[in-house]
């Protein structure tokens, strides 16, 4: 998946301040095409389309609870996608969302359980673990930045490999009581952390337990707005774009390339780490061995699908949130493997790469 991602990131024309129908239209068409293929597969499996669609709709938006759950999934995906788009502006491909989520999860768990966050007054009780998660995820991204600046290591390789390390760090952390594993009171106690204190969980937006929306939603939307402003309306955003498009000319114009690369990968990682905090504090409540289970990579697809635009991230994050929820229910209710959603995701990537290639070829080179 990651190599395909890198291919698109380089093949797709970088957003040079241009956004608009064509880019988003291509994404939309890629999604429609992939869903069409998914339908064909459902048919080929011998399941009636009607049943599958009904099960999908039920799981994705069939109830207020389903909608809220889909949106909560979209939050984590969207944060990783934002990080991807941020780094992409400097022509960096951050495929390390999975690891940044994992580091964020570890940090948030540690601070919630043992960092004394629970005893702080609100909102610090839940903000402190989030900040810790952002710093941890950011450090993970920043390492890739330092490696790139100091040793020229391609960030696609380093962020991906750092992800594997981080995923196994989660595994390790929940295996040992000296680290984050819950006390083994019975033989049945699983290798996972204790439940984090309620004070450190993200407060729900409504008292109604049927709609598990939490404060993560407004925070994520605010962050999306901040990223959009940073990219589009600040000197830093212009510099990132300059560095991404022509690092040599940017250097001649007095920009410091190295610090900018480290910074932007730190920020991208921080958004990934925050996604981990959202998943832990807003949804799962305890750190499990398989904590992220692919959200980082899905978030990467969200970022790719957005083609450099922040509104695009919001739209594709919502799409993927609903896709995931619907897919899970499709497996439960209609006996269609939820792997179908993965197939559709893969098809979206391939279609996008193909479309980018096709567009590049159609553009006649001006000599």
């Amino acid at each position: 998946m990651s190599t395909g991602a890198a291919a698109i990131a380089s093949a797709a024309p970088l957003p040079a301040g241009r956004r608009g129908p064509p880019a988003l239209l291509i994404s939309a068409l890629a999604v429609l095409f992939a869903i069409g293929c998914g339908m064909a597969l459902v048919l080929a499996m011998g399941v009636r389309i009607g049943d599958a669609v009904a099960a999908f709709a039920e799981g994705a938006w069939g109830s207020p609870y389903a909608i809220a759950a889909s949106i909560n999934r979209a939050l984590a995906l969207g944060l990783v996608g934002l990080g991807f788009v941020l780094a992409q502006r400097a022509n960096l491909t951050n495929v390390g969302g999975e690891g940044q989520i994992a580091l964020g999860g570890i940090a948030a768990t540690a601070v919630s359980l043992y960092g004394g966050a629970a005893s702080l007054p609100a909102p610090w009780s839940f903000v402190l673990p989030m900040l810790a998660a952002a710093v941890a995820g950011g450090a993970w991204g920043g390492i890739a930045g330092v490696l790139k600046v100091k040793a020229g290591t391609n960030e696609v390789i380093s962020t991906l490999l750092l992800s594997f390390i981080a995923v196994w760090m989660v595994y390790g952390a929940v295996q040992s009581e000296a680290l984050l594993r819950q006390p083994m009171t019975t033989t049945a106690s699983l290798p996972e952390s204790s439940e984090i204190p309620d004070a450190t969980k993200l407060p729900p937006l409504s008292a109604d337990a049927d709609t598990p929306l939490h404060v993560g939603l407004p925070i994520a939307l605010a962050l999306a707005a901040v990223v959009a402003v940073v990219l589009g309306k600040t000197v830093f955003g212009v510099r990132l774009r300059a560095i991404g498009l022509n690092p040599v000319a940017a250097r001649r114009a007095g920009m410091r390339i190295g610090p900018a690369i480290v910074w932007v990968l730190f920020l991208a990682g921080a958004l990934g780490g925050l996604a981990g905090a959202f998943m832990l504090q807003g949804d799962q409540g305890s750190l499990k061995a398989r904590f992220s289970s692919g959200y980082g990579f899905d978030g990467l697809v969200v970022g790719l699908l957005a083609r450099g635009s922040v509104p695009g991230v919001v739209a594709s994050a919502v799409l993927f949130g609903f896709l995931r929820s619907g897919g899970i229910n499709m497996e439960l209710a209609a006996k269609v493997p939820s792997a179908l959603v993965l197939v559709i995701q893969g098809l979206i990537i391939l279609t996008l790469a193909g479309a980018a290639f096709w567009i590049d070829r159609r553009k006649e080179p001006a000599r």
Partner: protein, 545 residues
């Protein structure tokens, strides 16, 4: 040999030539009402053109006049939107260069397509051979072509060891091996030394004498005088003049090309298109400002650059540039000029030596510190170093001073826009607006924009301009030198690196000559010094010359 196969499918060029009966012989290639549009740009419109067999037909026009587009259409790179092309009386609609090649048209592009790591023979056989490679056969063919056309080439040399002129010869041989009916050369002389240009023009004459038509794209009048049988002038995508006796009508053709008369044309700009500058003009402009102590803006003290392999690229370069003085650096490209420019612009550390700007040691300064010290740089490679094509014109105009456009932490686009508009007006950068993509501007406007940004540096003390007029049309050349001279008159020291000797002679006050990274000598920029400088450029010491 596939070249021979290609030949068999093509009527021998001699046939076309050997039919002198019809008084206005049917042209080899005729274009009727050709038009092409790229987006909103009308690249070509209503182009009618006839090319006779065995003639050298020059396409004259400034940058952006549509010459390359026209050639690329004949060669099948682009397809015309309207109009038709006839090749020897039959419709010619190549969908690709391969089809054009098959119908006997060959083209040498401005940018070569050679594999640097391979030998000449290997490059010539690429894409033309199947099965067993017969390198010896190819090599002997190269030698026989060399004999016929005067194209001296070592078939076994590696491309990376060849000079630009030699590489061009490889490209031409590649074309001639296919025995084309029509050879298209897109600005072939832009990259050559004066002596090499003469050689190339001779090759053109020999090729034409053997019955193959030659289309020569150029904007240099000397070349037209020398070899053109006929000339067609393009301006703004249209044919604005044509002549079958170009040597006698140069004035009219130039007027058509630049859209105005030669009167009042800057001497330097004239020198570039081959109009011999009235020698006193250049000298009059070049009266140095009287020198005083402490007037040094740039002092280089033994600057040395060694590359990654330890080869010395710049050897103890020592020079002083004073206020209000233009010092030219002459030399064949690749003799240390790029390294010198890279060091002085803070893009590359010097291995040894130091340099000072206004008396302050700047040897280890970053580009940002150099800018702050008032050092402006017009880099040799505009696209790689001077600008960011994917960004807007306005953004490029303030690339080094973005910090000034910050308001409440946000980018003040309004102020940026008005600053950009102001620079555009002052430097006559023509664009639909400050928001247009920089990459879409013509070369001249791009260069004026880079110059506008660099000359707008606060506390400007020194300007380094490397090949500032390369690829520019006459109007832009004039503008560029107008601005450089104006800066000089305000007391800015200028170091001008150029491979066009005529240009240096008419602009600079003094000229130093680089050869293999070393300063071979220095002389006043006066017409009499031309031969001496030429000898120094070739590595002969002053005594020998």
């Amino acid at each position: 040999m596939t070249a021979a196969e290609a030949l068999s499918s093509v009527p021998a060029p001699a046939d076309a030539l050997a039919s002198p009966r019809a008084a206005p012989a049917a042209p080899l290639l005729s274009l009727r009402g050709l038009g092409k549009r790229f987006g909103s740009l009308q690249a070509l419109a209503d182009v009618d053109l006839d090319i006779a067999a065995g003639e050298i037909h020059c396409l004259l026009g400034e940058n952006g006049a549509g010459k390359s587009t026209l050639c690329n259409m004949v060669f099948g790179v682009y397809q015309p939107e309207v109009g038709e092309m006839l090749l020897a009386g039959r419709a010619h609609r190549p969908a690709s260069p391969a089809q054009a090649l098959a119908s006997g048209i060959a083209m040498v592009h401005q940018h070569f397509s050679l594999v640097a790591d391979m030998t000449v023979v290997e490059n010539l056989m690429l894409g033309q051979s199947r099965g067993v490679l017969r390198q010896q056969e190819c090599a002997s063919r190269v030698r026989s072509l060399a004999e016929h056309y005067g194209l001296v080439l070592d078939p076994w040399a590696r491309i990376q060891d060849l000079s630009v002129g030699e590489r061009q010869r490889v490209e031409i041989v590649k074309c001639l091996m296919r025995e084309p009916r029509l050879l298209v050369l897109d600005e072939p002389t832009a990259v050559l030394l004066p002596a090499e240009i003469d050689g190339l023009l001779e090759v053109c004459q020999r090729v034409a004498a053997r019955g193959c038509s030659v289309v020569l794209v150029t904007h240099k009048l000397a070349e037209i005088r020398k070899v053109a049988h006929r000339v067609t002038v393009l301006r703004g995508g249209r044919v604005v003049a044509a002549s079958s006796d170009p040597a006698a009508e140069i004035e009219r053709l130039v007027r058509a090309m630049i859209g105005r008369s030669l009167e009042g044309l800057d001497a330097t700009a004239g020198a570039l298109i081959g109009e011999v500058a009235r020698s006193d003009d250049g000298a009059a402009a070049a009266t140095p400002v009287r020198r005083q102590l402490g007037d040094e803006t740039l002092q280089c003290d033994g600057l040395t650059v060694r590359d990654a392999h330890g080869v010395t690229r710049l050897d103890r370069f020592t020079l002083v540039v004073n206020r209000g003085e233009i010092v030219g650096v002459a030399g064949v490209e690749g003799n240390g000029q790029s390294e010198l420019a890279a060091v002085l612009s803070g893009m590359r550390p010097a291995s040894e030596g130091r340099f000072f700007v206004g008396g302050v040691d700047m040897t280890a300064a970053t580009p940002k510190q150099l800018t702050a010290a008032g050092v402006a740089v017009v880099p040799e490679d505009r696209h790689a170093v001077g600008c960011i094509s994917g960004m807007s014109l306005a953004e490029n105009l303030v690339l080094d001073r973005l910090d000034r456009f910050r308001r409440f932490g946000l980018l003040d686009r309004k102020a940026l826009r008005s600053e950009a508009l102001e620079v555009m007006a002052r430097f006559d950068v023509r664009a639909a607006g400050p928001g247009v993509a920089f990459g879409g501007l013509s070369g001249g406007n791009q260069q004026k924009a880079v110059l506008g940004r660099e000359l707008g540096i606060r506390g400007l003390a020194f300007l380094l301009a490397a090949q500032p007029t390369r690829g520019l049309d006459v109007g832009a050349v004039e503008a560029v030198y107008g601005h450089i001279r104006a800066a000089c008159a305000r007391g800015v020291g200028v170091l001008l690196v150029s491979s066009e000797l005529d240009e240096l002679l008419s602009v600079a006050h003094r000229i130093v000559v680089l050869y293999r990274g070393r300063v071979m000598g220095e002389c006043r920029a006066e017409p009499q010094a031309r031969d001496r400088i030429g000898a120094l450029m070739a590595g002969h010491t002053a005594q020998a010359a």
